[in-house]
Structures are given as C-alpha cells and as structure tokens.
C-alpha cells in the first residue's frame, strides 16, 4: 500500500520543479522537505535564466540550458495561471562583462568554441564594443573593456519561483511535508520506503533532489553522486529607480528595483557565513562595472552553497540496483526549472530518457580510470 505514486525528497527549486511537473502529469506526489533552517541553495540564488558561456566541452549541456530557457516563458505562464503568482520572468538577453583584456580573450575563445561544438545548431551571441555597451547599459564604467551579449539569456525572481512552485504543487493536489528530514531510504520489491524522524512513507518511485544532502541519500541506494559545496556571496542594495534593463553576470536589477551584486567562488566547506573581504571584493567589482552604484546602500549580504559537481554539470541518474529511484541535482536550479518540470518529471514517470540525459549520469565520473 503506497503513500504516493512518487515521493520527492527536497523542496528546493529542483525538487519543487520536478514535483510540480509530476503533479501536472497526474501523479500522486508527496514532497518531503526540511525546516526553516535548511541549507537552502534555492534562497541563495542570483536569479539568472542563463545560457551563454555554458557547456564548454559539453554541447549537451549547452543544448539543455537553451532548451530550458526557451521553455521558460510558457513555464512561467503556467505557474501564473495556476497560482496567480508572477515570477518576474524576463528575457531581454544577457551580458557578460569583461573587466580586462585577459577576460575578454577568455570570453571570446569560450563562446567561439561552444558555437563550434554546437555543430549545425544555431548559437547566437555578439561581442559588444564600448559604444554598444553604453547604449544597452547606461552608466557602464570605463574599466569594462567589452562584453558579450546573448539573446538567449534572461532572469526571474527565484524566491517567487519557489513560492509559485509550492503553491502550484498544492493547487494540483500535491502533498507537502515540511520539517521532515529524510534519514533513511530502503529499497524494496515494488516500493521504496523513505524514513524521516517522525514518519515513514512508501512509493514505487522516489526522486532524490536534496541539494547538498543528495550525496548521503544517493549512497543509501548505491549511487555515488559526488557533490561539493561552493560558497558564493552576493550583495543586495536598497531599491533604486530602474535603469538596468539587461541582466549581467555581475550586476542585475530586480523588478522591485533592488540591485543584486555578485559573485564569488570559494571553498569554505559547509560554512554559509559571509566574509567581509568577499563583500569588499563584490562591491569593488560592481563599482568597476557600474560606478554609479557608489552611493547606493547595501542592505544585506548573504552567502549560499552552490551544489557543484566535479564538472559543473547536472546529475540525472536512475539507480541501477534499484530502478524507480532517481537522483536529480544541479547548480542551475533556476535556469533548468522549466526542463525539470517538463522533461525530468516525465523521465521519472517512465517516459523515454532523452539522449542528453545519459551524459549526466554519475557514471561519467568513473571515466578517469579507463583513460
């Protein structure tokens, strides 16, 4: 006697997107989540729906990101229809800023290579000179040597996205259990049992999408999913009168008018404290990009831990020992929300696995031995 058709472990952006998709497909879905103090990467997100620069050496990932970005508009509309929540999705294109000649050379090389690897698929982008930047990005600083523009990029409000996914999931009959951290997964014949501190649940299919908690849970079902936390720090300013129409990789303005300044990359283990020197670095970088930010007040800084695999690409895997148990995790929970909702949910329900998926199985991490 099962409690659901599918149990999804993890109520962050990845789990909630998959759960929303499952509920939309008519599957009876139970979503288990931790409490208010969870290491919630979904609440520590810059909000980019981003394609450019992704997938160097992995054209499947570039395609996967582009597919999701293309589906995002409809995805947002469906959520709005189901919940009344506007997740603030806009797709004006996006810009990567180059603050030095070295960055510019790296940028050009990367994009050219990705375009090459795309084969006969279109891969649009444009390098912008100073005059073009000045038009698109008023106030751009003199230190910015050039930028790359991609029409595929956009942004959304990741917090409203999470709220909408939860609300939509409930609206479609999904059941949500917060404060239930999963402690054990026991695969059985026909059904898997999931035990939390207070209860146990059984279902024929289980999705493990627990962010940094995925590694421990995946190990319980014989899947090695190596993930490391990668600390990233962001500054948030007070609201300001709108001026930045395009999101950039360093500075982005939200619909409320708040400026988000990023970003850093550090290995501090599981420590989510902010560091004053990293805040200083982010502020410096933001000022080099847009000197006019100088008098704007920083209202908050926060840090979150990215869910980083060794190569930076997602893990989508079905346990070989225990078919019916799936692992899904990535660090681009916002960008990939649309394909998680549509494609990954269908994969979980037994539809054919797209060829792209095989690229993201954990077996790729074993490759080094055969080389």
């Amino acid at each position: 006697m099962s409690d659901a058709d599918v149990i999804v472990i993890g109520g962050g952006l990845v789990g909630a997107s998959i759960a929303w998709g499952l509920a939309g497909e008519g599957a009876r879905t139970l979503l288990l989540d931790e409490g208010d103090g969870a290491l919630r990467a979904s609440r520590g997100n810059f909000g980019l729906v981003w394609v450019q620069g992704k997938g160097l050496g992995c054209p499947e990932y570039a395609r996967w990101s582009l597919r999701s970005a293309d589906l995002w508009g409809d995805f947002a509309a469906e959520l709005h229809e189901a919940t009344g929540i506007d997740v603030g999705h806009e797709r004006p294109g996006g810009v990567m800023l180059n603050l030095s000649g070295a960055e510019e050379r790296e940028n050009i090389k990367t994009l050219a290579q990705i375009r090459l690897e795309a084969g006969n698929q279109p891969y649009d982008y444009e390098m912008l000179d100073r005059r073009q930047m000045a038009e698109l990005l008023p106030g751009i600083g003199p230190d910015v040597v050039s930028a790359s523009y991609s029409p595929y990029d956009g942004h959304a409000n990741p917090l409203y996205l999470l709220r909408a996914l939860h609300a939509g999931f409930a609206a479609k009959g999904g059941r949500y259990r917060p404060g239930e951290k999963v402690e054990a997964i026991e695969a059985g014949t026909g059904a898997t049992t999931v035990r939390t501190g207070t209860a146990s649940y059984a279902a024929p299919r289980v999705v493990i999408s627990a962010g940094l908690g995925t590694t421990a849970l995946a190990a319980m079902v014989g899947v090695d999913a190596p993930i490391v936390p990668l600390h990233g720090q962001i500054l948030v300013t007070e609201r300001t009168a709108p001026r930045l129409a395009l999101p950039t990789n360093l500075v982005r303005q939200t619909r409320e008018g708040v400026m988000m300044l990023g970003y850093t990359v550090d290995d501090f283990g599981f420590d989510t404290r902010t560091r004053a020197d990293r805040s200083r670095n982010v502020a410096l970088g933001a000022l080099r990009a847009f000197p006019c930010l100088r008098d704007l007040r920083v209202v908050r800084s926060w840090a979150a831990l990215r869910i980083m695999t060794a190569d930076g690409f997602p893990i989508y895997e079905q346990s070989e020992d225990h078919p019916g148990i799936f692992i899904a995790t990535c660090h681009s929970g916002v960008t990939l929300a649309a394909v998680h909702a549509r494609d990954v949910s269908r994969w979980v329900l037994g539809h054919d696995m797209p060829a792209t998926f095989r690229r993201f199985s954990t077996r790729r991490f074993d490759v080094q031995e055969t080389v």
Binding site: D36, L99, L235, V236, R273, D277
Partner: protein
C-alpha cells in the same frame, strides 16, 4: 580568513554601544589595564537612556527635575568614562561582526575591519514594535521616541496627543510630558486585567527587591490619574485612523468601541533587546517567554556561546540602566579574567556587589514582566489588513496565507513575501512575523525560530564597502575570482 595575523597592538576589549553597560565596561576595563575601544554610532555618550546627558548641563533650570534623578545619575557615569582613558570613537557604526573577534566599523573616514581579543555587545534595546491598523501613518511614534525628542532637543508634543500602551516607560513618559506642560488628551492603558492576577504572586518578592522603584511607579501613575488627561484601562482593539496622517485613535473599553480625535499617537508596549549583532555573530539565542523576546544565551558574566563574545545591558535582556551598568562591569571583569589579566580570586571579589545587586532585583523584574506582558494581539495582529512589515508593506494576512501553505518559519516566509527584506532587515517585523506564523501553525515562538541576521547591520554604501580597509588587499586587476564554475555563470 578575514584579517591579517593578530598584531601586538590588538585591542583587548572592543565595546559596541555607549549606554550604561558599555560605559561602565570601559571604565572597569581601563581600571584593570586592558586596552579598550568603545564604538558608538551616536555623536555623544549615553546611549538612549542617558541621551544628551552632557548637554543637559546647559539646559534651563528645572531640566534635571523634569527628566528625573535616574537620568541625572548618568552624568556621573559619563564623567568617569571620559576620565577612564578608553579609546572612544563616536560616530562609528558597527556593520559587521565575526565570531573570531572581528568587527566591521564605518566611521567618518570610511570602513575598517578591526580585531579584538574580546567583543562586548552593549547595544541596548528598542521599543517593541506594535503593529496596529494604521500604524504607518505619519504622527504615530513610540512613547520612547517622544522621550528621545524631549531629552535631545527639548521638544514636547504641541497638539492633541494620545498615549497608548503598557509598561513602566509609558507612565514615566506620560508623567514627564505632563510635567513639561504638554497636554495629553488621553492615556489609554492596554495592560490586560488578567495581568494583575498573574503578577500578584510576584508582588511580595518585588516589594522586598524594589520598594523604591515601585513607589516611584505608583507616584507616576497617581500623578497621571490626578491630572487632566483622560485615563482608560483595560484598553484593547486599538486602531489608528487617518488618510495622510493620524486623525484619530479607536479602541475598545468594557466592550464598547470609542474614538478620540488626535494628531499624535505615542505607542508603547515595552522594550526588547537589540539582538542584531549577537545573532549576526552566530551566538546561541533563546526565546524568553517571560519577556516575550529573543535573548542571547549567557552565563552570569555575560559570556555567550562564542568564546570571544560577551553581551551586557538591555541587549542581553531587559533590566534597566542600573543593572546594565552592573552587567557591563561584570563583562569587563570576565574579559580580563579570560585574557589572563585578572586572577580568579580578584574576579570574585570585584564581582560580588554587582552580582548581589542583580540577584536582589530579579524578583522585581519578574513582577514587572508579568504585569506588563503584552496582549496577544500586540504580538500577532488579528486583522489581516494590518501591516507587519512596514518597509515592504507585507500584511498579517499575507503571512497567514503562506503559513497555510506550510511555510515553516520566518526565513521561508521572508523569501516568499519579502517580509524582512527592507532597510530595517526585520527589526520592526521579525517578532510579529514569527508570532503570526506561530499562532497560525499552533507552534511556539522557539519552534518557529527567528530571522537569520546578515551583515550589514548598519547601512553602508557600495562605495564605502568597496573601500573597506584592514582585510588584506583586493585581488589584482583582471578576473576578480580565483576560478569560476566551468559553465560560466556564477549563479
């Protein structure tokens, strides 16, 4: 790590806040030979309770009597502080803190990171936010706010003023304003009648511990009752009316709705500790049901769960100015002992009288906390339309909606509604938001938890933060990042 290796001239004790706790801690620390720095965002020492105490000397005659003896005592403490030799830095706001003894400080010359062997947080308290219908209208402020205006600038309300709420400060302020010649149209006492019964068991202990304080309180109260202002007790259901500013206050007494036209409403329902810095540092906190607020977990000397951090005064828990001074003294003693600069026997000897005084007064505190415990509607506003988050304009109803969705606590509620994301970063809405969630889900405040506090604790601009000194050089020009994730975007 944030800073370079500790240097020989590292500060022994960095004190944040120039109220009675901080001032006394500085005096004690200097007496013991510690190097002490006192940082305060204000321009002059005294904190809130002794605000403008130095300029009080040049006020007109009668000023001392108006503000009372308790206030005047602060002058002596400030004099001792000025003579102590402490490194005093007014106009310096602490915007960041790290548990290993670092402080981010913003002064007139810019932002600097400093390190100390011990940090004492003595940032006092704020008035408990009272979310009422209409509370964001111009013309609504705290009773303590009106007292601040009186002390600093000699201002008194000049129009038609209603004071509403509960607690000792309410009666003190009412008495002060009346004595200063400000007319008070009404004093609306919201102390629940049931509180008198609940506090009664603590009265004998309170009489023993603080008969003079109680006598003073009764005297204020009698002066108000004998005065020309309307006095109503057992008031509930307070609301504020007006379109562009306050026009009237409405309320319920003895089952009847009433309305008073006015242009200034002074609200007060007690004070709560400023826990921003202690929470940002990561110290353990507990929810006190006795005082209905969050407090850092401390030992008798003010040591927190973090080795280098202590807290003293009202930011540890509400206890008043004299207790704050004693607590500052104890914290300085503890810091000295922990740094090996004070033998254990001396610590005991020097701590004895402060510990005894604090212990004696506990029974009085218990009585006052029980008598003036706010009504439930003060903590969690019943009307869905009432704003809980003033900055981002999030209503109680909106919070109840996300609670119904299973939202586990104020951090997720913040993510979903923006409650707590504005400039005040949860100071005004944190308690009420948690209370609304707690009531809606049948959980206690301790279970629901509190908002995570992150720096900057005080406003700092992008430019000021970019110029932060004392944290090592920024990365060389070129890529700011050591390595970026291979897929390009950082998020």
């Amino acid at each position: 790590m944030n800073a370079s290796a500790p240097s020989a001239d590292m500060i022994d004790l960095a004190i944040v806040g120039a109220g009675p706790a901080g001032l006394q801690a500085a005096v004690t620390a200097c007496e013991l030979g510690l190097s002490a720095v006192l940082l305060d965002e204000g321009a002059a020492p005294g904190g809130q309770i002794y605000r403008a105490i130095e300029t009080a000397q040049v006020r007109p005659p009668g000023w001392r009597e108006l503000l009372g003896e308790d206030y005047a005592k602060g002058g002596e403490l400030v004099r001792r502080f000025r003579a102590s030799g402490a490194d005093y830095r007014p106009d310096h706001a602490v915007f960041d803190i790290s548990p290993d003894g670092g402080l981010g400080v913003l002064g007139p010359d810019g932002a600097r990171w400093i390190e100390a062997r011990r940090i004492l947080i003595a940032t006092g308290a704020m008035e408990r936010p009272v979310p009422l219908p209409g509370w964001t209208l111009p013309g609504v402020m705290g009773a303590g706010a009106a007292q601040t205006l009186l002390k600093s600038s000699g201002l008194v309300p000049g129009g038609r003023t209603v004071i509403v709420g509960s607690g000792p400060l309410l009666f003190l302020v009412a008495r002060q304003l009346l004595a200063a010649g400000a007319g008070l149209a009404a004093i609306l006492d919201t102390t629940p009648r049931a509180n008198y019964r609940r506090a009664a068991p603590f009265l004998p202990g309170a009489l023993l511990a603080g008969s003079s304080e109680l006598r003073k309180g009764i005297a204020w109260f009698m002066a108000i009752r004998r005065g020309p202002s309307l006095y109503r007790s057992g008031v509930s259901g307070v609301g504020i009316e007006g379109s562009e500013a306050v026009e009237a206050v409405t309320f319920t007494v003895a089952g009847r709705r009433d309305r008073l036209a006015c242009d200034l409403v002074l609200v007060h329902e007690g004070v709560v500790p400023n826990v921003q810095l202690s929470m940002a540092a990561g110290a353990e906190h507990d929810f006190s049901e006795q005082q209905v607020c969050w407090r850092p977990r401390l030992d008798t000397f003010g040591r927190t769960s973090l080795e280098r951090l202590l807290v003293a005064g009202d930011s540890a828990g509400i206890g008043g100015a004299e207790r704050a001074a004693d607590a500052g003294h104890l914290a300085a003693l503890a810091a000295a002992a922990d740094l090996g600069l004070l033998p254990a026997a001396d610590l005991k000897a020097r701590a004895r009288s402060a510990l005894a005084r604090i212990s004696r007064k506990l029974a009085l505190r218990r009585f006052l906390d029980a008598l003036y415990r706010p009504r439930d509607e003060v903590l969690a506003p019943p009307d869905d339309e009432t704003l809980v988050c003033r900055c981002e304009e999030v209503t109680a109803g909106e919070l109840r909606r996300v609670a119904a969705m299973g939202c586990p606590g104020p951090n997720q509620a913040k993510a979903f509604t923006r409650c707590g994301m504005g400039p005040c970063q949860g100071r005004m809405c944190g308690l009420a938001a948690a209370a609304v969630l707690a009531r809606a889900s049948g959980r206690s405040m301790a279970e629901v938890g509190h908002l995570r506090v992150r720096p900057p604790i005080k406003p700092i601009t992008v430019g000021e933060l970019a110029g932060l000194e004392g944290v090592g050089a920024p990365p060389a020009m070129g890529p700011l990042l050591p390595t970026a994730p291979k897929d390009g975007a950082g998020a």
